[in-house]
C-alpha cells in the first residue's frame, strides 16, 4: 500500500503533527504493522519536496516531531486520483503449495498429507481471525473478513486439488 497517499488522505481532514499522523494511521490501518517514526518522517519530507504538503506552523523547540503539516491543493488532487485508481488484482500463479503437491507425487510420498497439514494450518489462522472478529469493532471485523476470504480461497483450491489428486498423480507419472 502507498503510505504516502494514506498519510495525505489523513491530512485532508486537517493539519496534523507527524506523531499524530502515525497514531491515527496505526489506529485505523496499522493492524499488526504500525508505522515506524522514521518512515513517517521520510514520507513527509518526500511529500514536502513534491509540493503535496506544506509546513503549517512549528512549535517552540524545533525538531521534526514539532512540525505540523497541511495538505496542498496538489495534494488533494493527488489523493483523489489515487482513490479511483484500482489496486492491481493480485494474481498468485506461483504457488508453493502446488509445487509441494507435485513434488510429493513425483517422489511417491502421500500428497494428501501435504494438503491436510496445510488445511489445518489455514483453519488455525482462520479460527484466530474469527475470534478476533468476535471481540472487535466494525473495523476489526472488516479487516479480518478480508483476510478470512483470502484464506478461504486458498482452501477452496486445496479441496479442489485434493479431489483431483489421482488425476494429477497420473499426469505427473506420465
Amino acid at each position: 500500500m502507498s503510505i504516502g497517499h494514506a498519510l495525505l488522505g489523513l491530512l485532508e481532514t486537517g493539519p496534523r503533527h507527524g506523531y499524530d499522523l502515525k497514531r491515527v494511521y496505526d489506529e485505523r490501518f496499522g493492524q499488526d504493522r504500525p508505522l515506524a517514526y522514521g518512515q513517517v518522517y521520510s514520507t513527509l519530507s518526500r511529500l514536502l519536496r513534491n509540493g503535496l504538503v506544506v509546513e503549517s506552523g512549528i512549535e517552540a523547540g524545533g525538531g521534526p516531531e514539532r512540525k505540523r503539516y497541511a495538505i496542498t491543493d496538489a495534494g488533494v488532487t493527488d489523493v483523489g486520483a489515487w482513490l479511483v485508481t484500482p489496486e492491481n488484482p493480485q494474481i498468485y500463479l506461483n504457488s508453493a503449495l502446488y509445487t509441494k503437491v507435485v513434488l510429493a507425487l513425483m517422489s511417491g510420498r502421500d500428497a494428501e498429507v501435504v494438503l491436510d497439514t496445510q488445511r489445518a494450518a489455514h483453519l488455525k489462522a482462520m479460527r484466530e481471525l474469527t475470534a478476533r472478529k468476535r471481540d472487535g469493532d466494525l473495523a476489526d471485523q472488516l479487516i479480518c473478513d478480508h483476510a478470512l476470504f483470502h484464506l478461504e480461497a486458498d482452501l477452496r483450491w486445496l479441496e479442489l486439488t485434493a479431489a483431483r489428486l489421482n488425476e494429477l498423480r497420473e499426469q505427473v507419472a506420465g
Binding site: 494428501e112 491436510d116 497439514t117 488445511r119 489445518a120 494450518a121 489455514h122 483453519l123 488455525k124 482462520m126 479460527r127 481471525l129 474469527t130 468476535r134 478470512l148 476470504f149 484464506l151 478461504e152 482452501l155 477452496r156 479441496e159 485434493a162 479431489a163
Partner: protein, 226 residues
C-alpha cells in the same frame, strides 16, 4: 480437557451398494464444537445421522455418555434424541402451519410442558437469538436468516447436550450466515452444549474448536505439530 460425551468408532454404512461411511471415527467432548468438513457426497451427513441415532450404522459403535445407541430400544432412543439432542438443518425444517414461537415451543410441548410455560420459554429463546419480533409469524413469512435463528432457538430450547447442525448456513448469504454462526456458537458455549457442525465452508468451520475431514467415507484427523 473434559471427558468424551459422544463417540463413534469404526462406523461403516452402505446404502444398498453405495458405500457412505467406511471405518469413520469421531468423538466429541462436553461443550466442544467440532466441524465436520469434506466434499459433497463424502459421508458427512451420514456420519452426523449415525452419531445422532437417526441412522443405524452397519458396523461400529456409537456411545453417548457411555450408553450404546444401537442397543437401546427405539423408544429410548427417541426420548434421548428429544431430550439430549438438538437439530438444525440447512433449511430450517420448521413446521409451516405453526408460528415461530409455537415452533420453538414444540419440543417442550412434546416433552409434556404446558402451552403457556412452553411458549414463555420459547419467547426467551427467540429473544436470545434476536428474533423475538417475528414470534407470531409463520415460517413462510420470515427471511432465511431469521428462520435459521428460529431453528437454532428450537434446537436449544430443551437444554440439549449436543446440537447437530448440518449446513446450518448453507442457504444463507455471508452476513446472515455469520449472524447465525455467532449466535449458534455463542449460545452453545453459554449453555455448555457441544456442537457437531457439518459444513463445507471454511469460514463456517472457523467457528469450531476443531475440525475433522471426511473423504470417501473415511475420517481424517490431522494434528498440527506446534
Amino acid at each position: 480437557m473434559s471427558e468424551v460425551l459422544l463417540s463413534g468408532t469404526n462406523l461403516g454404512k452402505a446404502f444398498g451398494s453405495t458405500p457412505a461411511l467406511d471405518s469413520a471415527d469421531l468423538s466429541v467432548r462436553r461443550g466442544e464444537i467440532v466441524a465436520v468438513m469434506g466434499p459433497s457426497g463424502s459421508g458427512k451427513s451420514t456420519l452426523l445421522h449415525c452419531l445422532a441415532g437417526i441412522v443405524t450404522p452397519d458396523t461400529g459403535v456409537v456411545l453417548f455418555e457411555g450408553r450404546e445407541l444401537s442397543s437401546m430400544s427405539d423408544k429410548a432412543r427417541s426420548a434421548l434424541r428429544r431430550g439430549e439432542f438438538g437439530f438444525v438443518f440447512q433449511f430450517g425444517q420448521l413446521v409451516p402451519e405453526l408460528s415461530c414461537v409455537e415452533n420453538v415451543a414444540l419440543p417442550l410441548r412434546l416433552g409434556g410442558a404446558k402451552r403457556k410455560a412452553a411458549e414463555a420459554t420459547a419467547r426467551e429463546w427467540l429473544a436470545r437469538l434476536q428474533v423475538e419480533d417475528i414470534a407470531a409469524k409463520r415460517p413462510s413469512e420470515v427471511s432465511g436468516g431469521q428462520g435459521q435463528r428460529v431453528a437454532v432457538a428450537r434446537a436449544l430450547v430443551t437444554g440439549p447436550k449436543v446440537i447437530f447442525a448440518d449446513e446450518p448456513t448453507g442457504a444463507l448469504d455471508s452476513l446472515s450466515g455469520e449472524q447465525v454462526m455467532r449466535l449458534l456458537v455463542g449460545t452453545a458455549k453459554e449453555t455448555g452444549a457441544a456442537v457437531v457442525l457439518v459444513t463445507h465452508e471454511a469460514r463456517v468451520a472457523a467457528y469450531s474448536d476443531r475440525e475433522v475431514v471426511v473423504r470417501d467415507g473415511r475420517t481424517r484427523h490431522v494434528e498440527l505439530v506446534p
